[in-house]
Point group: C3
Chain length 265, copies 3
Amino acid sequence: MHHPQEPSRNGRSREDLAQATSDILARLRTRAPRIHCITNAVAQNFTANVLLAAGCVPSMTLAPEEIGAFVAGAQGLLVNLGTFDAERREAAEIAVGTAAQKKLPWVLDPVFIERAPPRAAFARQLIGRGPAAVRLNHAEFSALGGGTVTRENAMANARAKHMVVALSGETDLITDGERVAAVANGHALMAKVTAMGCAGSALVTACLAVEPDAFRATVAALVIIGVAGELAAEQSTGPGSFAIAIIDALHNLDGPPLVARAKVS
Amino acid sequence: MHHPQEPSRNGRSREDLAQATSDILARLRTRAPRIHCITNAVAQNFTANVLLAAGCVPSMTLAPEEIGAFVAGAQGLLVNLGTFDAERREAAEIAVGTAAQKKLPWVLDPVFIERAPPRAAFARQLIGRGPAAVRLNHAEFSALGGGTVTRENAMANARAKHMVVALSGETDLITDGERVAAVANGHALMAKVTAMGCAGSALVTACLAVEPDAFRATVAALVIIGVAGELAAEQSTGPGSFAIAIIDALHNLDGPPLVARAKVS
Amino acid sequence: MHHPQEPSRNGRSREDLAQATSDILARLRTRAPRIHCITNAVAQNFTANVLLAAGCVPSMTLAPEEIGAFVAGAQGLLVNLGTFDAERREAAEIAVGTAAQKKLPWVLDPVFIERAPPRAAFARQLIGRGPAAVRLNHAEFSALGGGTVTRENAMANARAKHMVVALSGETDLITDGERVAAVANGHALMAKVTAMGCAGSALVTACLAVEPDAFRATVAALVIIGVAGELAAEQSTGPGSFAIAIIDALHNLDGPPLVARAKVS
């Protein structure tokens, strides 16, 4: 059973998705959604600064006594498994429960699950609890039991779990099981900055907080971070200055360069 | 019972406070006080770099076995509630006890207490243990039971608890219950960098370590970080480059620009 | 029993060590070793970015369920005691055990052990478990029971424990008990950036992962970070911009400037 990309069916041209991305960024600026992040210690500071630059209000607490209240008051939740420990596992259980109650969108970023079986098992369990989107690379997709990395397998997984699958790579593949988009924005320096992927997943969460169509929200987030990366690379002399320039670029980004530079197909 | 600001009574003109600020910064450079910080994971790195740029020696351990020794060897203690967890609560109990024994000044920064009741309750308990200063925004002031945010309420709280209250906002209000100062230095980009407020509170702690008058120390810290922010903004193209430039500005700051730029009234 | 540096015996001229450093950096670029770091929360982000800039793949998990798997899949292990807590002590026990089984080189960085006795005791116990190298400053050397800081004492310690001792200071002293080198590269701003020393120790680990001679690997790492620091200082206006510029410099560094600038004797 194949579900190839059919432009007539998903009804999204490049122009539609680029314009939607511009609209979603504008909504981030005006609504300033609160995004709660359970993320690894390496990524917390950079992720918070990326969310602030995009117009959001980040929070990061992990304490079981209060994470429920923080998530209940937020508009989106990120669960990143980059440092997998008892504290974050407990935090994730509570936070995902609150998100379900409040019908908040949440995103799973199963970092490095191919490196340790307990992490992969926990990720599989979380997938069963209904994330709006999962963002992962090819090795993580396979470790999650997704099978060989193909467009068809990504679509089948998205359909089976009723979620958006965003496969990162040279070109990102985004699918909700029916629609498929490829996003080719970005720059090689993005792979040389720690937590860049984690921050990208936080931005997916942010876009889900202001756009009910999870497919469009995910495409928008990946275009936004990719275009910011391209703009930042023009100002950078290496990964250190790049990491700073991408925050500036995100902060200064508005619709026209997004529409002009979006590489979505 | 009103305690309006009376220049004749608090004996502080703008020039006096600006010069005191310059003197306090010079003392930070020569004395290099050790400042122990219990702070949230998002803020640790930036806070340490701000303290180093100001001339201090930061430490950050939370381990119950050794935090007493670290605080006993320090000249000031910061307790920031930005990530409120069992480890940090236990660390705070021990550290505040050691600070009391050693008569060290300590500062409470009750981040986000309006978002979760247990955090607010813990903050109220800590207030009872005698911080030299508490630094908080308007929402946090109300959550702490301070009542409506007015100058009179801030003064009443400061007087009742024998501490300096530093209310952050467009203009910062600092009072010890008798004296009141308003500090208008700073830049809008400061709100777009995570941990900027936390680092400001660390700088309050640093100034308390070298200046026995807690009111003057707190004013000095907020002028120093505000002027550094103004200088940084002139070199920045967004919040990423701003966060870097403010570290450089703090490192390079000396008396004359402080005296020239201080907006204290 | 004296073991003075004997050029004829250690067979290392400045040119030999400078060329070895260049070769080791080239190997980092081509082999991209996985380096697992148990390090303090203040240092995690900067350390990861330094390792990425040098061409390595960092990981940082502390969870007991999976740290064994991460270390088993890595080519080097760093144990930094900068935030000494129960979680990291347990992580270190497991990780060092795995490193021994897999015959992986590991490095101990006993940060601030002079400030708290329990930390010093734990460091002494870890020394007994066979690190390839220990990197520490003068206060830490004394706290570790190394005696007065002299070249002879450093050599005696290195010989007794079959490890490389790298004493940081204005000039770094590196010895394996037989050979001794002094590395004079670096810049004063390195002391004004938090986690710079921690990141340097991570780079020692990285070089050990691609060079079996622990003495040459350690010298190489300290020359590399020192030269990167010198290049960064030329682009910097303070410690903020310096911390960014050193990441760029590491990323862009190759053999010729290393060979030209290495100050090894």
